[in-house]
């Protein structure tokens, strides 16, 4: 049996604890942003690929017993005054084999325009096995008025790619660069 003041104190203590829960939930909400990103990159949850250069694993041997088809897709997003498309639509590679391909870009306006390519891999589960050694998507690209540019991409498909995946599609959505 509590008297009024004891109850007041107990109430206040409980309110503080509950406010702590609310605060923790707020922190959790914002922590979900990086957490989600990490989950995506580790599991390929959303077809995201790492946006940093992969090192060629020296121990990686080329698995000549299987072929994987890599398809290339390019999208120019509204607001970017560029022409942009892959030079080849697909390539067949052995897992582990380093391959070079390129995309073509041209600024069709009279002013410099910067863009940022956003990669996406489908199926999502293949994303983590698609390794980019060099890519124009690692940083923003700026084209001078009327400039054309070959944008190189060096990559390999990890031999750890699950057996049932025979085709990987790599898409670049080129956006007007944001500040």
């Amino acid at each position: 049996m509590m008297d009024a003041t004891e109850r007041e104190i107990a109430n206040r203590r409980l309110v503080r604890k509950l406010l702590g829960v609310v605060a923790a939930a707020c922190v959790f909400a914002f922590a979900l942003v990086p957490l989600y990103d990490v989950i995506c990159r580790v599991t390929g949850f959303n077809g995201k690929t790492g946006n940093a250069a992969a090192q060629v694993e020296h121990a990686t041997r080329v698995d000549t017993s299987r072929w994987v088809t890599v398809e290339f897709v390019g999208n120019t997003m509204p607001g970017l005054s560029w022409e942009f498309h892959p030079r080849q639509s697909s390539v067949r590679v052995h897992p582990g084999q380093v391959e070079l391909t390129s995309y073509f870009a041209r600024n069709i306006t009279n002013q410099p325009v910067a863009g940022q390519a956003v990669p996406s891999v489908s199926p999502g589960q293949a994303a983590q096995y698609f390794k980019k050694i060099e890519c124009f998507c690692f940083q923003r690209q700026e084209l001078k008025p009327g400039e054309t540019k070959e944008m190189p991409l060096t990559f390999y498909v990890s031999p750890d790619l699950p057996e049932n995946v025979q085709t990987i599609t790599l898409s670049y959505a080129f956006y007007r660069a944001v500040q």
Partner: protein, 531 residues
């Protein structure tokens, strides 16, 4: 003893009158009344919007409005019904009943309680104001993204989204305040002898709801805040161009959104057993099983959210996980159904209005629950998802399972709250009209969805015409029959109808029935002891 208590009470009974009474009140019954009246008003407002939608969908072709206005109506209808009708109704009942049921003189934090309520009217104004502003050429109307705010559409849309974001913030703060108050009240204000495992199930249901609210509302608030900064302050949480991801929004939203379903339902699951047991004249079956099921459902609801976004594309293991975890919710839910029916089993039932609503509620909510089980199947969900099948499903869970539950509760406790009996004849008429019109409205929508009609479209192909017409006719009957409900409530409040006994229902159990009808302004001046 009695006279002393009454004298004591009379001494405490002076409080401001008129508008100031309601603005400044810290009395749990006054605040509960305000919540309930507010919920009823917003229920009618949201219902009017639904009727406008159904009127447009009565026939193929655009008759009454432009597509963008249609999109605004559906979104605001949902936001109002969920945040401004169902949730305040549940909070209103909590305010009225929890102190009475656990033998507390009032809520633990009366002033917080007052603030919590008075955040609601401004939020309701924020939600609907853009409609009016648009009439004067300011902005392009209310939020037109549906209640789900999906980015990037919500980044693209007009000022209605900003208004809705602020409204959601206010509503969120209000429900977090309410939840804290309810948790503290239940933990600290119980009468002696009222142990946790003697707590009325309504209090238990609300306790889980309150915990879910304080855990998930901040996530929603965070998500819409990120949306706001994406819209106006150049952040890129949900924009791929800046390294963000629009799918992140959906995960954040449904991390809140799925528990929200149970937030709306748990209070109803709480008070249905009170009604069933009262009119079966038989104690509640499986009290402990029900409490544990509440816990199980509360916890499970936090880990199944992605079944709302199956079509977004996920790795197979994720699809399987969310499918099976969703299916497993059916187990604790089945426990509840079992207990409800076992409570009725071999009772001595009579079917006054609250019992009619409770029984109808079990059946209709059962349909909602079973179709939910089917929706968990990922491959078939590709067909059901965002079709009218889903619209029908969640109206069976939220209108039948939520609103009709609230109506059962209203009829059950209205005599206690107002001290007057409602018209039993009109109550029964209200039930039958509601139950029949509800099925007439939403049963055809299951078939519309199966036939391939997407939701949220203002106009549809000719093959969908017949079912839509039936559905619209049902909706108008449903809408109009709610006027009976309003009439019944208003006449009780105005003191018409016979005087209610302290315990108007023969089989009712619980501390609230030991008080007079209506209960004194300050109840339990002498603390009851539970044996």
């Amino acid at each position: 003893m009695t006279t002393a208590a009454q004298a004591h009470e009379a001494h405490h009974d002076h409080h401001p009158t008129g508008i100031m009474r309601w603005l400044t009140t810290t009395n749990h019954k006054d605040i509960g009344t305000m919540y309930l009246v507010f919920a009823l008003i917003m229920f009618m407002v949201g219902g009017a919007m639904a009727l406008a939608v159904r009127a447009e969908l009565f026939q193929p072709g655009m008759q009454l409005m432009r597509p963008e206005f249609f999109n605004q109506l559906i979104g605001v209808h949902a936001l109002i019904m969920i945040f401004a009708a169902l949730m305040p109704a549940a909070t209103g009942f909590a305010n009225w009943l929890i102190p009475l049921q656990i033998g507390a003189p009032d809520m633990a934090l009366p002033r917080l309680n007052n603030w919590g309520f008075w955040l609601l009217p401004p939020a309701a104004i924020l939600l609907t104001l853009p409609f009016i502003l648009a009439l004067f050429g300011i902005g392009d109307g209310a939020i037109a993204t549906g209640w789900t705010f999906y980015a990037p559409l919500s980044v693209q849309e007009g000022i209605g989204v900003d208004f809705a974001i602020f409204a959601v913030h206010l509503l969120g703060i209000s429900s977090v305040m309410g939840s804290i108050n309810i948790i503290v009240t239940i933990f600290n204000m119980r009468a002696p002898g009222m142990t946790m495992m003697k707590l009325p199930l309504f209090a238990w249901g609300w306790l889980i709801t309150a915990f879910l609210l304080i855990a998930t509302i901040p996530v929603l608030a965070g998500a819409v805040t990120m949306l706001l900064t994406d819209r106006h302050f150049g952040t890129h949480f949900f924009n791929a161009a800046g390294g963000g991801d629009p799918i992140l929004f959906q995960h954040l939203f449904w991390f809140f959104g799925h528990p929200e379903v149970y937030i709306l339902l748990l209070p109803v699951w709480g008070f249905i057993p009170h009604i069933l047991s009262a009119f079966s004249r038989k104690p509640t079956y499986g009290y402990k099983a029900q409490v544990y099921s509440f816990w199980a459902i509360g916890i499970l609801s936090l880990v199944v959210w992605a079944h709302h976004v199956f079509t977004v594309g996920m790795p197979v293991p994720a699809l399987l996980y969310f499918m099976y975890s969703t299916m497993s919710i059916s187990l604790p839910l089945a426990v509840l159904f079992f207990c409800w029916i076992a409570t009725m089993w071999r009772g001595a039932m009579s079917f006054e209005t609250p019992m009619l609503f409770a029984t109808g509620w079990i059946i209709l909510f059962g349909i909602g629950g079973l179709t939910g089980l089917v929706l968990a199947d990922v491959a078939a969900d590709a067909q059901y998802h965002h079709s009218y099948f889903v619209v029908a499903h969640f109206h069976y869970t939220l209108f039948a399972g939520g609103m009709m539950g609230m109506m059962a509760g209203t009829y059950f406790w209205l005599p206690k709250m107002t001290g007057r009996m409602y018209s039993e004849k009109l109550g029964k008429l209200h039930f039958w009209l509601t139950a029949i019109a509800f099925n007439l409205t939403f049963m055809p929508q299951f078939f519309l969805g199966l036939a391939g009609m997407p939701r949220r479209i203002p106009d549809y192909a000719l093959q969908f015409a017949e079912f839509n017409m039936i559905s619209s006719i049902g909706a108008f009957i449903l809408g109009l029959s709610q006027l009976i409900f309003v009439y019944n409530i208003v006449s009780c409040i105005r003191g018409q109808g016979e005087k209610a006994a302290d315990k108007p229902w023969e089989g009712a159990e619980g501390l609230e029935w030991t008080l007079s009808s209506p209960p004194p302004y300050h109840s339990f001046t002498v603390q009851p002891v539970v044996k």
